[in-house]
């Protein structure tokens, strides 16, 4: 087992564990903590896959912005920040559905041959050329998504006068 694989395993186990913990802990603020670690862990995997720009982006957008956004969400909707979420019974059916999905995906995909060879010739410049040249329409579309989100979300959240 190569060093890359070993590192990947470690990071993968952390990702799975923190992802599960984020959803299972009763204290919502702890959830934010775990999901923050989860995001950072994924950033590490990006670095491992030799996609450092994405790793940085992951750290900035997810571990930074999204986590803070979620924390704000909790703060605004709770009277006391450190209060426990009401216990919710977990039915057998949802767990079964999730597990079966997992088994299905693993069963169908786990045996695939081949492996990825991280790109040797990597530069942020070539990535940006790609993004702003041939794949510029993606960015334009993303801009439209954000425009709609901006206009609508502001309207929805604002304490508007009737």
């Amino acid at each position: 087992m190569s060093l890359t694989e070993l590192a990947f395993f470690a990071l993968a186990i952390v990702a799975i564990a923190t992802g599960l913990l984020a959803l299972l802990v009763r204290e919502l603020v702890h959830t934010i903590l775990w999901i923050g670690i989860f995001f950072v862990d994924l950033a590490a995997i990006y670095f491992l896959l030799e996609a450092p720009f994405l790793g940085v982006l992951q750290l900035g957008v997810y571990a930074g912005a999204v986590t803070i956004l979620l924390l704000f969400g909790i703060m605004v909707t709770r009277k006391r920040i450190f209060s426990r979420d009401a216990a919710t019974g977990v039915g057998a059916l949802p767990i079964a559905l999730a597990v079966v999905t997992f088994i299905f995906l693993i069963g169908a995909l786990g045996q695939l041959p081949g492996s990825a060879v991280p790109a040797a010739s990597y530069s942020v410049a070539s990535l940006s050329t790609l993004l702003f040249n041939t794949e510029a329409p993606y960015l334009l579309l993303l801009g439209l998504v954000m425009l709609a989100a901006l206009a609508g979300a502001i309207y929805l959240v604002r304490e508007g006068r009737e």
């Binding site: 439209l144 998504v145 709609a148 309207y155 929805l156 009737e162």
Partner: protein, 527 residues
């Protein structure tokens, strides 16, 4: 100068889309400038969609003003080599769908133009409708999976917020919440599906995908399976449909019209784009069978899957529609079952079937948009949402009653309405395709025969039943509005639908010609 020429050549074909964007921005800008008049905002929306409609008609070359066409003739249905595969491409089928999307947006804008808006002159409403329409238009030109998903996302985000537009109404916000969660889950599924396909083919481009060989069939099949599930959310296929009923029910009526009549169709067009190609590519994965036994190609496998979904969807939708007591939920289930009919065309995937499904989609665009607009008009009159509350409506408000009857008859597929023509071509094409598709046609016919019952019941209630004398008198939302309390815009939109339903029911030939040539080109060169 030449730069300008090149720029015009690049931007020109997108003039309708740019108009929509400009319209949305102007509406938002006016809101910021505190110019808040619903007639103005609605007028802008109606104007840009109407101009867009005329331009698309010109591009299709079917209008007298075809000289205005902005897309060079050679670019429509151009044969694309996989190696140069672009992110977007103009197909005549896509343009026909753009036409449908614009019709739906135009009807909705017209229908809500004179609604007594309490919320800042409806600026956000019309702005989001225009943005959503823009997203729909871009779905119409997509030829790349990620482009498609992003364009759908433009529509989704706009419509999540549109559903919550009446933000003080807890039903509206609750509907938005459900819509958002199921929608975001579907986005996750579609994106994961696109990622798997990207892994299998090394590209997200539809032309390039169809030009490649299948290396890892399981990856491809799981990718397509995830895409089916993700897109089925928009198309409201059973069992991905449950959100739709609650959302159509809880959303503001005009938004329900837009959702059921308009945005649902982008999912169907996405099905066209994504699945027709693989279905027609018989050579793909010719020996696939994970559990051993004789191998089968991927195309027929997808067909079987879609066939099952189609039959389940139409049957379950109809059975549930039979039971509904509320008009909006009845229409919602009816819309779900109609999606099953349309899926037949995609399953069969011959040119006649594509033409039939496209016609059926056209019929459904105008009929459903119109029907929900009638619901909106009736609600504005202060009449309740239960079918029983509509007793005697046809006698008291003949304009609404007659128009709604036309729409219901059209949905039921009664002759002399556009719904009959579309079902005839659709089911007929399935029979022509022979094999098990005949059973799809039979299932469709039986279902539409059964559906007549719940459509006819509403007509009977409106015209033959007398209103409950103990019910409180209706309290119109805005008593002063012209034209039986509807306002000119809404009355015009409803009247327009009723006229179109009958016009294309009696003389469907122009529509048939358009759809036939589009379907033909789609089969020959489409992605």
């Amino acid at each position: 100068m030449s730069d300008l020429g090149a720029f015009t050549a690049f931007v020109g074909p997108f003039l309708p889309e740019l108009l929509l964007l400009a319209g949305a921005l102007v509406v938002f800008l006016l809101d910021v400038l505190e110019v808040r008049r619903v007639e103005l905002n609605g007028g802008i929306a109606v104007a840009v969609t109407a101009v867009g409609l005329l331009l698309v008609l010109a591009d299709l070359g079917v209008a007298p003003w075809a000289g205005l066409a902005l897309i060079p003739a050679g670019q429509i249905d151009a044969v694309v080599t996989p190696s140069s595969a672009p992110l977007y491409a103009f197909t005549s089928l896509g343009l026909v769908f753009q036409l449908f999307f614009l019709i739906s947006a135009l009807l909705v804008s017209l229908g809500s133009m004179s609604r007594p808006s309490k919320e800042r002159g409806g600026a956000v409403f019309f702005g989001l409708v225009l943005l959503a329409t823009l997203g729909m238009m871009l779905v119409g030109v997509a030829s790349d999976l990620l482009f498609l998903v992003l364009a759908i996302e433009v529509v989704s985000i706009s419509t999540y917020l549109l559903v919550a537009y009446t933000r003080r109404d807890s039903r509206s916000v609750e509907a938005a919440m459900k819509f958002y969660i199921i929608g975001a889950l579907s986005t996750v599924l579609s994106l994961f599906g696109v990622a798997l396909l990207f892994g299998a083919f090394g590209t997200t481009n539809l032309y390039a995908i169809e030009g490649s060989a299948v290396g890892a069939p399981t990856l491809v099949l799981l990718g397509y399976g995830l895409l089916v599930a993700g897109l089925a959310f928009k198309v409201t296929l059973v069992p991905f449909h449950a959100w739709a009923v609650d959302v159509y029910d809880g959303a503001p009526h005009d938004v329900s019209a837009f959702l059921a009549g308009g945005t649902k169709k982008i999912g169907l067009f996405a099905f066209f784009l994504v699945f027709i190609g693989p279905i027609l590519l018989a050579r793909w994965g010719a020996s696939f069978n994970p559990l051993g036994g004789p191998g089968v190609p991927i195309g027929p496998l997808l067909q079987v899957l879609l066939a099952v979904l189609a039959v389940v969807t139409m049957t379950v939708g109809n059975l549930l529609a039979l039971q509904q007591k509320e008009i909006k939920r009845m229409l919602a289930y009816s819309s779900i079952s109609q999606a099953g009919y349309m899926l037949i065309g995609i399953t069969v995937a011959t040119a006649p079937a594509i033409a039939g499904a496209t016609l059926q989609i056209f019929a459904h665009v105008i009929l459903t948009t119109g029907a929900f607009l009638v619901v909106a008009a009736v609600a504005a009159l202060g009449i309740g949402a239960r079918i029983d509350d509509w007793r005697g409506l046809g006698v008291r408000r003949p304009y609404l009653g007659v128009a709604f009857s036309f729409m219901l008859l059209g949905l039921a597929g009664i002759p002399l309405t556009v719904g009959f023509v579309s079902k005839f071509v659709l089911f007929g094409s399935a029979i022509q395709a022979e094999g098990y598709f005949v059973w799809l046609a039979i299932a469709g016919v039986l279902n539409s025969a059964a559906s007549v019952f719940y459509y006819a019941r509403v007509i009977k209630v409106m015209f033959l039943d007398t209103p409950d004398p103990t019910a409180p008198a209706p309290r119109p939302e805005a008593p002063g509005l012209a034209f039986q309390g509807m306002g000119y815009g809404r009355a015009a939109a409803i009247g327009l639908v009723a006229v179109l339903v009958v016009f294309f029911g009696i003389d469907p030939q122009p529509m048939l010609g358009l759809v036939q040539s589009a379907a033909q080109h789609f089969v020959l060169v489409g992605p």
